[in-house]
Point group: C2
Chain length 333, copies 2
């Protein structure tokens, strides 16, 4: 508890973390980081991370926090620049565990070419937290001339998914005490800004992008459909899903469409641009498995509420895709 | 738990909070808020809030979160503009309690003329949190031509405190189950940006500012002293402290210098400017009790490590002021 109380002990803890993160701006030692001007409009986002367990194949809460914030900035068309990190530590957390997580934050930030510029640490009593919770915020510079609002989505547009669905959700679920299976899977946790930059630099002009976290592909599609009363159709056989993930989902009664991902993108593009966009995605290491999974079937008049999403199933039927009411996977991120 | 899992239930919860906060930017419904360009350098800060109990005379965790972030931006010389808010809710938290806190966030944001532009909500199991934790981040526009780094602090400079010390710490402590006394006090929790703007617009050019939160006045003075190896002296009789706070501190063995405040400023100014700065502070409702509490006694050469802070006590002696090692008041903010 002493590490959180604003004294010398807290300074030592913060100094230790600054050493690992090695940021110039953290070194300012001020209540706020002082940053160079950002040209143009800003993007600003925040997320808290409460994933359980803290470590999993493919990542940990630290990597997840950096990637989640980088991705939230990237899908609105911004270049992520600066991140903040606020840690809520549970009393008794081994310092080695904290170090591992902070190292992971530093490594993910390097990978994503962003800098952790400001932070905060609080400590709560044993039994009032769960090891570590992390809240990250991010500031990015918005690219000019993009309209990713979905306003321009039109009949015939292609729905592209950047890779295999459900790996993160099934990896984390497999580690839960209550289930405990060895899935052999790894989380897809990754920063998407590099891949999205490659997509945009290829000349592709997506009309909508989302990273497929809580709520999965279903949530992103339903959101798009509802925005403009669109009818969307996806093809089950086109969905990139590992056999193990599909099998586990069936076993556990969890729809792969609602499974959280931490390094997957939905991009919606006019059909004529779809193939070149797909090529740009596939040329990036994170987008090798990118696929067109469906299309905008019809536009209703802009004011129409609702919209709908349906899936052509492998057996040839049609199934309505809805947002989960309350997903079965709490604390997945 | 269902409220945190990315489904319809979560949308309902978030919609409810957006309604209370009533921000245009939250209404964008994107993964990041898209904000107009900010002229000049940026200030960016983050803090998490784990105060116990959630509600106290003078404020609550919501007001505290907004004020803390506004103040961290203000003391580096920035105009606070945009805030984010990430909530970690403990399963079973009554929605009425959440509403009260979100109302309080909205009211504090209005008072401070900032806007909550983006947010996030997670839910953790009962016994893995403590009602609500809040992490806020803030973006501000840096004023030109200020050097608040302490670099310019010089012999003779006045140390000014904007009002009575220790009210927040003693108010919160009085509510703890383990102690439970009726202090009759209220937290000083307040946004300092208005008062700091008034100070700067008066023509005052402070060389150092800090809001006196965790670690209190002692931490801020020791930080300044250490920056340039300064010798600082404060006068115990000049410190604005309520009798009740002083008495409680003595009873509980807590030094008023280390008590956390949530609406108090330390400003360091050249002596000739001190009286007019004091007048500017006193003209503001939050600075009526502002006082010169001490001065910079001597500068050692810039490279000298350490520095020192001493207090001329009421009984005429001299006492060394040090940073607390691990303060006695965990979860004070």
């Amino acid at each position: 508890m002493g590490h959180g109380a604003g004294g010398i002990l807290m300074d030592e803890l913060i100094g230790r973390m600054k050493g690992i993160l090695g940021s110039t701006y953290l070194g300012q030692g001020l209540d706020s980081a002082l940053l160079p001007p950002v040209t143009g409009s800003l993007a600003f986002t925040t997320d808290s991370f409460v994933v359980r367990p803290l470590f999993f194949p493919g990542g940990d809460i630290g990597k997840l926090a950096v990637c989640g914030t980088v991705n939230d900035l990237s899908v609105v068309g911004a270049r992520p620049l600066y991140l903040s990190s606020a840690l809520i530590l549970e009393e008794g957390l081994p310092l080695e565990t904290l170090d591992r997580i902070v190292f992971s934050i530093a490594e993910a930030a390097r990978e994503a070419h962003v800098e952790i510029v400001t932070g905060d640490t609080k400590v709560v009593e044993k039994g009032r937290g769960d090891g570590v919770y992390i809240a990250t915020s991010g500031v990015g510079a918005l690219r000019e001339g993009l309209d990713l609002s979905g306003r321009l989505a039109a009949e015939g547009d292609a729905l592209i998914v950047s890779g295999r669905l459900g790996d993160h959700a099934m990896t984390v679920l497999g580690l839960r005490e209550s289930l405990g299976f060895d899935s052999g899977l790894a989380s897809d946790c990754a920063p998407l800004n590099g891949m999205i930059a490659a997509l945009l630099e290829s000349g592709a002009a997506p009309v909508f992008m989302r990273d497929l976290t809580r709520g999965g592909l279903a949530a992103a599609l339903c959101e798009l459909a509802a925005l403009r009363g669109l009818e969307l159709e996806i093809d089950e056989e086109a969905l990139p899903v590992r056999d193990e993930v599909r099998a586990l989902g069936e076993l556990l009664g969890i729809d792969v469409l609602t499974m959280a991902n931490e390094g997957k993108l939905l991009a919606v593009l006019p059909a004529p641009a779809a193939e070149s966009a797909l090529a740009a995605l596939r040329a990036h290491p994170l987008g090798r498995e990118a696929r067109i999974v469906g299309r905008v079937l019809a536009e209703r008049s802009a004011g129409t509420a609702g919209g709908s999403v349906r899936m052509r199933t492998a057996s040839g039927g049609l199934r309505r895709v809805t947002r989960p009411y309350a997903e079965k996977l709490p604390r997945i991120c």
